[in-house]
Subunit: 207 residues, 2 copies
């Protein structure tokens, strides 16, 4: 088992390795990764060691090799399907974003209650009425649900998702949703990310 | 100076403490915080100790006291103004989101190039033409800029922001932007957050 803090960093290493790969670079040092992410260099080495990928002293890690190890770990070649509920400004921005492809993440269908939106397409993805969600989620065995609905709708939609077999909910609505123990909920709050930026800018010296 | 990993966690503690405060609870244990965030309990204690806030053994931290210490640290009562450039789906979702208020974060004005959007209002905030940005940023001494423009516009807008006195850029565009050393850039990538969710769901056992 990989510790959670390492799990959170490995996708970021992959992003950086992909950039170096695109630029045709052959090697990358753990110091280069640690500088880009403003983290401790020994931490980078420890994380990569978890993948059993060895570097060369003074030279660093071979880009092709590290990329392959990371792709295996992130299971890049396996499409990770998900459904998105709520196609307002946030839902549409997520549905349109092509940054998910690099990790093999795929939002296959969108759902809403607004009759004006049903049948519209965002790229290849179609907006279905939310009443079609349970049947489609079960038939296509989709386990990851993205919730971009208003706060007051979040719990209700989470219940429907869990009943239809969801195992993970990525929740953007500012609401605490209750789910059974075997369902993972990640509450995404961009406000917390913004606050962290502000703190770094003012890196408070509390002494 | 507070270490960066602790800086990233403290706003999340504040979110949880605010919930307990709203529910009228008197105390909170570090184990309760660690369970909600799936992190190590001793880490929570170490972080809170950085604020010089002491808990009572077996009882936990007094909610009012911990909330006050966190608010002082996060400088909650000091409004943190920012400008947002790019009012497409993502920009509008960010501008509309009321989750920023709890940290005293305030997006005071929005900017775009699309003539159909100029003059529109999102709540109290007005969309100005981007040509007005340098003058307004300098006059209002706004140091934090949120970039929600297409990839190919990101560097150009970052240059304009830096020239107008920006000290931190919260960048959503999938582009590496170059800025002087004294300017902080945080690249936000929701795809990385999504990938971390998937990894937690499948918590790979690499042994
Ligand atoms: N966590 C964050 O960082 C963050 C950032 C921005 C917005 N938000 C939140 O995300 C949510 C969406 O934001 P937005 O700006 O897109 O809002 P929005 O009002 O523009 O969109 C909401 C959409 O959900 C649809 N909807 C309502 N009830 C539904 C239901 N039961 N099933 C399916 N669809 C339903 C509406 O028709 C609409 O299309 C809000 O709760 C907002 O507070 C969170
Ligand atoms: N990092 C992430 O997690 C993430 C998630 C979603 C979207 N995105 C990215 O965020 C950006 C915005 O996404 P969107 O869905 O809102 O796109 P969009 O096309 O809907 O909106 C872009 C907006 O920017 C405006 N614009 C273009 N050039 C401008 C300039 N020079 N100055 C000011 N405004 C300008 C356009 O008029 C439009 O209103 C894109 O680059 C997208 O790839 C990132």
């Amino acid at each position: 088992k990989i510790p959670l803090p390492s799990l959170k960093r490995l996708p970021k290493y992959y992003s950086i390795v992909c950039e170096y790969y695109k630029e045709g670079k052959e090697y990358i040092k753990s110091s280069e990764i640690s500088k880009k992410l403003d983290i401790d260099e020994t931490q980078v080495r420890k994380d990569i060691a978890l993948l059993n990928c060895a570097g060369k002293p003074k030279v660093g890690f071979n880009i092709n090799e590290l990329k392959r190890y990371l792709e295996e770990f992130l299971d890049i070649n396996n499409m990770k399907d998900s459904f998105l509920i709520g196609t307002g400004n946030l839902g549409l921005a997520i549905a349109k974003y092509n940054g998910f492809e690099k990790y093999g993440l795929n939002i296959t269908a969108l759902f809403d209650t607004d009759p004006h939106k049903i049948g519209l397409k965002v790229g290849e993805k179609e907006i279905f009425h939310v009443s079609k969600f349970p049947d489609l989620a079960q038939r296509m065995r989709v386990k990851i649900i993205i919730l971009a609905v208003p706060r007051e709708e979040a719990q209700k939609m989470a219940d429907i998702a869990v009943k239809a077999g969801a195992k993970a909910i990525w929740n953007f609505a500012p609401a605490n949703i209750d789910v059974p123990k075997d369902v993972l909920v990640i509450n995404q709050d961009l406000a917390t990310d913004f606050m962290v930026l502000w703190l770094q800018l003012h890196n408070k010296d509390l002494s």
